[in-house]
Symmetry: C2
Subunit: 248 residues, 2 copies
């Protein structure tokens, strides 16, 4: 991995206190004086072009990353070549937490569009979180949230049918776009049908068919990657009681 980052305007620091993502990112819930101290933590920023890796499974773990702009997917690939998307990440979300346990990354992080991340050296994070209580608390919450999120995906994969999964996915995207100040009802997906399918444990054809079905039923309007949610309560209803047999 070519680690040398050219000293350009792009790699100049931007204080967390100045960043409009505080509400979503690591600093959330920290006091102003605590956030000021974060500025010594967040080093260079790094730009990643669409389809490029931020890190690969097996890379030595040195830093975690906060997404400043753009979006990513993480995936693992099994020995036999099968690939599974384990998550999609948006601005303000953290990448790389999986690497702490073995000191090597356990998945690949790939940009879905031209993106930019803040690089947070893990050794510095540990050091600083020993003295800044709010940082320690926040960091633990971020990790814990990741665990809870993964449990959510496990229940989705373990107990939902195709259309429920896609409905849950759309509602989740909607909610995350909303939190970032975008429309809850209209957004642009950055990932392909195949990536959505991999994430949801479905084949791309099944994803495509479910999109079409939702459209026929007037729940959404789909045009390629552009989604418009027309009936949010209808989508919610879908995931609440399974299609056949309204409770045994």
């Amino acid at each position: 991995m070519k680690a040398t980052v050219p000293i350009t305007v792009a790699s100049l620091k931007v204080a967390c206190s100045q960043c409009n993502l505080v509400e979503l990112c690591l600093p959330f819930g920290m006091s102003e004086s605590e956030i000021d101290r974060l500025d010594e933590l967040v080093g260079a920023r790094r730009k990643i072009k669409r389809q490029q890796h931020l890190y690969r499974a097996g890379d030595p773990f040195e830093a975690i990353y906060a997404i400043r702009a753009g979006s990513f997917k993480t995936d693992v690939l099994l020995e036999d070549g099968r690939e599974q998307v384990t998550g999609f990440q948006m601005t303000g979300e953290m990448l790389g937490l999986d690497g702490i346990s073995t000191e090597a990354h356990s998945c690949n992080a790939i940009a879905l569009e031209d993106s930019e991340v803040c690089v947070i050296a893990y050794s510095k994070l540990e050091e600083l979180s020993r003295v800044v209580e709010g940082l320690q608390l926040q960091f633990h919450k971020v990790m814990s949230r990741e665990i809870v999120r993964d449990h959510g995906v496990m229940t989705l994969l373990g107990s939902m049918r195709a259309e429920e999964r896609l409905a849950a996915f759309l509602l989740n995207m909607s909610q995350r776009f909303t939190a970032r100040g975008f429309s809850p009802a209209e957004f642009h997906l950055r990932m392909t049908r195949e990536e959505i399918g991999s994430y949801l444990g479905l084949k791309l054809e099944t994803v495509s068919r479910a999109f079409s079905k939702f459209q026929d039923e007037g729940l959404i309007a789909v045009q390629q990657k552009h989604i418009r949610i027309l009936d949010i309560t209808g989508l919610k209803r879908l995931i609440q009681h399974p299609s056949p047999s309204p409770r045994p």
Copy 2:
């Protein structure tokens, strides 16, 4: 929740430094002097009878737990009554990490047999991990390991077929029993077929059939909950290339 613990022999502290689980539990990798300081962290122990809850989804989060004896399952239940097992935990493993993010537990933890846990007050853990570096590092690794484990389950649920899932489950159990000094090839499952199925995203009948099939093929010997692995490489082969089409 009746929180008062009677002062009995059972609740007396047992130093981590004296515990035979150090290799598996939170203290792993810490220096002796650091482990000694853990003793101020680990408060009362708590006994949980089979089928009883250690905590429930929604309970306020105050402590994490290290399993001293016995085993647990964690599960979440969806609005419509469906239930999903998110994990099985054995001695030395930690419970309750999901509670940090929202300060309330997000799943239920239920003993699969009469069990005992060490109660680790979270506020104390935060405090101590600010001064004991090894504890901080270890705790972060434990959380990260949970994330990696969850990703493993996600790939299992998202891309494996029934028999592969069960094979992976058995190999995982075998490996964990081995790490605890038990036989890699012969062990007693504490959970029902239904719980295994819920964890693996399968119905109990499918689990049962897969067990029978493995037995017919000479891979394992099953007698109710007692499992003997006869051909471990055969099981491993199962999860490496999918049944039909040996790679496209």
